[in-house]
């Protein structure tokens, strides 16, 4: 439960950072394909997905513990997950790209 809610928070933050121009470019810098500019609908998609990941992460925390302590733990998880995201963006953006591609392949198998 804890691992799942942490993973969801981390994924959520990756999506939220993808909705920002600077980080979108950072993450894409590892890809071979040419850059595609960040479109409006794409941005909305990233934001909604990211925010819902964070929301589900909160619900998992609250379900695993009590509501009150769930919120406390969620705040801590957000801090750590956001820190991880921002460090990876700064030092290893290509890892984030690989993670996203792996996730996409898992969720939409051909």
């Amino acid at each position: 439960m804890i691992i799942l809610s942490y993973a969801l928070a981390f994924t959520g933050f990756i999506f939220l950072s993808l909705a920002m121009k600077r980080h979108y470019r950072q993450i894409q810098s590892g890809s071979v394909q040419a850059l595609r500019p960040l479109g409006k609908s794409q941005r909305l998609f990233f934001r909604v997905t990211g925010a819902s990941c964070l929301a589900i992460s909160l619900m998992l925390c609250m379900a695993g513990l009590s509501v009150a302590i769930g919120i406390v733990q969620w705040a801590g998880i957000l801090t750590l997950a956001a820190l991880q995201t921002s460090l990876l963006l700064a030092y290893r953006p290509q890892w984030l790209l690989m993670l996203i591609l792996a996730l996409a392949r898992r969720s939409f198998p051909r």
Partner: protein
């Protein structure tokens, strides 16, 4: 000069932060360490076996009672704590005779006293968090309150002046000098902002009775016992009673315990206070354990002689009182399991980093300005040296505290005080060192000292006691192993910091290390750089 609201807030943020920054750093470091206070206690008292099992509460209470009748029959009060607390597998008894407090640990199954070395342990470090050291508690509480208030001002002004709080949420740009420091300061602050706000605000609540005494005096009067009446009401205490000086035989405590357990359920009592034991006015108070809640446990008070039930507190707390309890409990995080405890610790580290980077930013900005205008800055040299002495000096002092715990002779008199003395002496030396050395060199060298002190601590542990890392792993004693490994990691962190300051990569450093070693041993090696 400060034309806009934002500019004046920026001024406020700078000076509110700088003026108390060093004390705040001390409070944050000791507080962060405090989240692992009982783990450090365990490490500092390796005589205690990792797990010795527990008995039923009723049986343990009998053991404690027996021992207390033996060694402290005429005490003013007794305090008995069951080994439910994390990492403390023993029964703890405290008492006071003629203003002299005593403490003993008992084996929870046999009731034999366990002899442990005299040490301040993690509790001493945690105590410094709100009590500082070498000063009266009143002065310390006022100082801490003042610092916490400045901290709250600095936080709120920071939220106002940080225009791009969401846009720069993830932004960290390494290798860009001043920009990087500001990014780091922002990342540390913004990402753990819920924690920072919560910890500062609830910290102020802790001390509210100290720095707002007039509010109590306003409705209760300024006399001491009226103040006591206020606290009795706030904490829903059954009014205390002084001894009648008539020795009477008390009921066995286990009889009262079984009544308490019939109200709350089995094994719910965590500690017991007995006021005036063996006296006609004996009072027995049971406290309920709240293993995983944000509210406080209930309290039951009995007459120790007749066994009459007198009072139950905390059964139905008022709104404000509940809010107060919840804030204090979130601050202390006693309810936290291992994972949440680590999250608390990491948030605390981010807060520590936030203060450190803030202090460093102040000097970087002024140094750049002084270089541009070719005019030396007056306070810069002082702040730079205070920064080194505090930011790197305090961790060195704490490491020395751990070293002292292992190196001082076990039967050394006033051993616990010597540990604290070692902490503050070594920390004091760290203020003198940067006066004698150039600033940049002082940073690097002290970082290496910290790296060595933390990195070698597990080895010192292995040399001086039997509970070293190997044993901990085999016995799956994760508390002992956890402290050792955390110390190793801290050592690595300080080494990385030192390398960063020397503009050296890990690989380059390893290469020069190999080269130095090979010259030392006189072997010829190919230079593969």
């Amino acid at each position: 000069m400060k034309n806009t609201f934002r500019q004046s807030m920026s001024w406020l943020h700078t000076w509110a932060g700088l003026s108390v920054g060093w004390i705040l750093y001390f409070i944050f470091v000791t507080g962060t360490v405090g989240y692992f206070d009982s783990e450090i206690d365990r490490w500092m008292q390796p005589e205690i076996p990792p797990s010795i099992g527990v008995e039923r509460s009723a049986r343990m209470l009998e053991l404690a009672e027996q021992r207390l009748y033996q060694i402290a029959p005429n005490a003013q009060w007794w305090h008995i704590e069951f080994p439910i607390n994390r990492n403390r597998p023993f029964l703890e008894i405290n008492w006071e005779i003629d203003e002299e407090e005593g403490l003993e640990f008992l084996h929870p199954i046999t009731g034999e006293p366990i002899s442990v070395r005299d040490t301040g342990g993690g509790q001493q470090l945690y105590r410094m968090h709100y009590r500082l050291h070498y000063m009266s508690s009143t002065l310390a509480e006022w100082l801490v309150s003042l610092c916490a208030m400045f901290m709250l001002v600095a936080l709120i002004s920071a939220i106002i002046i940080h225009k791009r709080i969401f846009k720069d949420f993830f932004t960290f740009r390494p290798g860009k000098k001043q920009r990087t420091w500001l990014d780091l300061h922002n990342v540390f602050s913004v990402l753990a902002l819920p924690f920072h706000l919560m910890i500062t605000y609830s910290g102020l609540l802790f001390l509210a009775f100290t720095f707002m005494p007039l509010i109590i005096a306003g409705s209760y009067g300024n006399v001491e016992d009226r103040e006591q009446a206020f606290f009795d009401e706030v904490y829903d205490q059954y009014p205390g009673l002084s001894a009648a000086a008539v020795p009477v035989k008390m009921l066995p405590l286990s009889t009262l315990l079984s009544d308490a357990e019939s109200r709350w359920g089995q094994e719910r009592v965590i500690y017991i206070n007995v006021d005036n034991p063996g006296d006609a006015n004996a009072r027995v108070e049971f406290n309920e354990q709240q293993p995983f809640g944000l509210t406080d446990g209930r309290e039951l008070t009995y007459d120790g002689v007749s066994g009459e039930w007198l009072h139950e507190a905390g059964d139905n707390p008022s709104g404000p009182s509940l809010f107060y309890d919840v804030m204090l409990n979130i601050h202390e995080g006693l309810f936290a399991g291992t994972f949440l405890r680590w999250l608390y610790f990491i948030s605390g580290l981010l807060g520590t980093g936030m203060i450190a980077t803030g202090l460093i930013l102040w000097t970087i900005k002024r140094r750049a300005h002084a270089q541009r205008n070719n005019k030396p800055h007056k306070g810069l040299a002082l702040v730079e040296r205070l920064n080194i002495g505090t930011i790197i000096g305090l961790p060195i002092g704490i490491a020395v505290y751990f070293w002292a715990n292992r190196l001082l002779a076990i039967d050394f008199s006033s051993r616990a005080e010597m540990e604290v003395l070692a902490l503050f002496t070594s920390w004091g030396l760290c203020f003198i060192y940067p006066v004698l050395r150039p600033v940049k060199r002082a940073w690097v060298e002290l970082c290496w000292v910290a790296a060595a002190l933390y990195g070698l601590l597990p080895f010192l542990n292995g040399l001086t006691c039997e509970r070293h890392l190997g044993v901990s792993f085999v016995q799956q004693d994760w508390v002992m192993a956890g402290v050792d490994i955390t110390m190793l990691l801290l050592g690595v962190m300080f080494a990385l910091m030192a390398m960063r300051l020397q503009n050296q990569s890990v690989r380059g450093w390893l290469r020069s290390l190999v080269r130095a070693c090979s010259t030392l041993w006189g072997t010829k090696r190919h230079d593969y750089s």
